[in-house]
């Protein structure tokens, strides 16, 4: 049983009109592993996550979660599998019409306004986990700073105790210190909650801090996969160019 990957993609392709965004993408993520996909803007990183989450349909290929093929599932079954996922969106994507604590507990009630006291306690616990106190519970997302919004979004993504959490550019838009706080939080959450993590980012510091293994997407295809430790001597010119942040190289 231990051999079954938590998530596996086999030959996944996706196009928008004539533009191929993903070409024959295959990879597997082991349970409890922290996996990062790197790549430039428009390389297909976000689309990969959205296909796994079922927010988009892949044109071809198969996607497995815990050995179950989700690409062949009916909507109701897919809902069941989706409960295993949490996602931290790039801009936080907090619901601005709801208070912080309603945001954090949204998945637990599926958006219904019920279960006051008990849910507030759950919200408080999850906020504590990301380093926020009870004073933010009743604030609106717009009253928080960017870094705090990201933490609330992180608390929301883990509140229903998902087995897998996706992080979409977790440090984008934050100053280096706050970015480091978020990186540390991610590492802690993965360790303490036994989460399988998949992150997409172009922040090299973040990659090296949070991930066990890395894949590089270039122009919709995976050009390199390996342990994070090998990133700086991968022998792949695309990876070298990306890691060193050079404008000259195979990618223009």
């Amino acid at each position: 049983m231990a051999d079954i990957p938590k998530i596996e993609l086999r030959g996944v392709s996706k196009s928008f009109g004539a533009k191929a965004v993903l070409r024959d993408v295959s990879f597997a993520v082991a349970p409890g592993e922290a996996f990062t996909i790197i790549g430039g803007s428009g390389s297909g990183k976000s689309v990969t996550l959205k296909c796994i989450l079922g927010l988009m349909e892949a044109d071809a290929g198969k996607i497995f979660v815990d050995g179950e093929e989700i690409t062949a599932m009916k909507p109701a079954e897919r809902d069941r599998v989706r409960a295993k996922f949490g996602m931290l969106f790039q801009g936080g994507a907090l619901f601005d019409s709801l208070s912080v604590w309603r945001n954090v507990t949204f998945a637990l009630t599926q958006g219904r306004l019920k279960g006051g006291g008990e849910l507030r306690k759950i919200a408080e616990e999850n906020l504590e986990r990301v380093g926020l106190g009870a004073e933010v519970l009743d604030l609106r997302p717009s009253e928080l700073s960017g870094g705090m919004q990201k933490r609330v979004a992180l608390a929301r993504a883990i509140a229903h105790r998902p087995e897998i959490v996706f992080f979409d550019e977790p440090t984008t838009g934050l100053d280096p210190i706050r970015a480091d706080i978020i990186n540390k939080l991610i590492v802690e959450l993965v360790r303490d909650l036994g989460i399988t993590a998949v992150a997409i980012t172009h922040d090299m510091q973040s990659v090296e801090k949070i991930s066990d293994r890395v894949a590089m997407l270039y122009d919709g295809a995976i050009v390199w996969t390996g342990p994070t430790a090998d990133l700086r001597h991968s022998g792949n010119s695309h990876v070298d160019q990306f890691v060193e942040g050079r404008s000259d190289g195979p990618a223009e």
Partner: protein, 266 residues
């Protein structure tokens, strides 16, 4: 021009006609599918009664002032026009009859529909469109909540319920506006005016007025939500969605009004 050139010209002519026609049908199909999906999902739990009440308040209650003003001004102007126009062939006495028929059958529902579409379709498109471009709708799905049930259905049903209520108010205020102008400016006898109004009005008129209102309510929310959900491309996209929602709601209201009028009274 050679034969091949002529054939190409004909083909490109057909293409120029065909492309927009096909895309129009595709759009109509997508909107119909969107409406069907919303209705089908809304029939099974979870339900969101508080969201429905919120929308009823924002569509119904907060539209009252603008609807009341529109109806009062139009009722008065209508009375004056019929009086002046009727004088040419001594038909001034038809003012109460034409005001009541004009308001209840046409102007009450249509003007209410247009005013509410201006307020509500645009607001829905902007709110849902912003949620789309900031990934709040994607986030909702990952939080195991169906946007059709949570966002769209409450708006659609609230709008279908609120519009007939608003149209009732608009009809009464419009008729009363015509009455005030007729009695105080044109010198009609108050009791006679009201008696004629009551005699002319039939229950079919009222039923048709409310049917129109419900249909307009459906289109107002449908176009607002559809444009919102399909928003792409940041702030500019939200702007486009808002405009599209209002324009399409207007067109659909006026078109469905024509169809319903011809079907019921033609």
């Amino acid at each position: 021009m050679g034969e091949a050139g002529a054939i190409n010209t004909v083909i490109s002519l057909f293409a120029a006609i065909g492309r927009p026609v096909i895309s129009a049908f595709a759009t109509i199909g997508r909107i119909a599918l969107f409406a069907l999906t919303t209705i089908r999902r809304a029939l099974t739990p979870p339900y969101y009664p508080i969201r429905l009440l919120e929308q009823l308040l924002s569509i119904g209650w907060y539209s009252l002032p603008v609807v009341a003003l529109t109806a009062a001004f139009t009722g008065m102007a209508l009375a004056q026009q019929i009086y002046t126009g009727g004088m040419r062939f001594n038909a001034q006495s038809t003012v109460p009859a034409i005001v009541v028929i004009g308001m209840v059958r046409e102007l009450g529902p249509v003007l209410t529909g247009l005013m509410v579409a201006g307020r509500v379709s645009s607001a829905m498109a902007a709110e849902i469109g912003t949620m789309r471009v900031t990934e709040q709708i994607d986030a909702m799905v990952t939080l195991r909540t169906d946007p059709y049930r949570y966002l769209i259905a409450p708006r659609l049903f609230a709008s279908i319920i609120a519009l007939p209520l608003l149209v009732c108010v608009a009809n009464v205020i419009g008729i009363f506006g015509g009455y005030l102008l007729s009695v105080y400016k044109l010198g009609f006898n108050p009791a006679g005016y009201l008696e004629m109004t009551a005699n002319i009005l039939e229950s079919d008129d009222i039923v048709m007025s409310l049917v129109k209102a419900a249909v307009f309510g459906f289109f107002i929310a449908l176009m607002g939500c559809y444009a919102g959900v399909r928003t792409a491309g940041g702030a500019a996209g939200v702007g486009r969605a808002t405009t599209d929602a209002v324009v399409w709601a207007f067109v659909l209201i006026l078109l469905s009004n024509l169809i319903l009028t011809v079907a019921a009274f033609g």
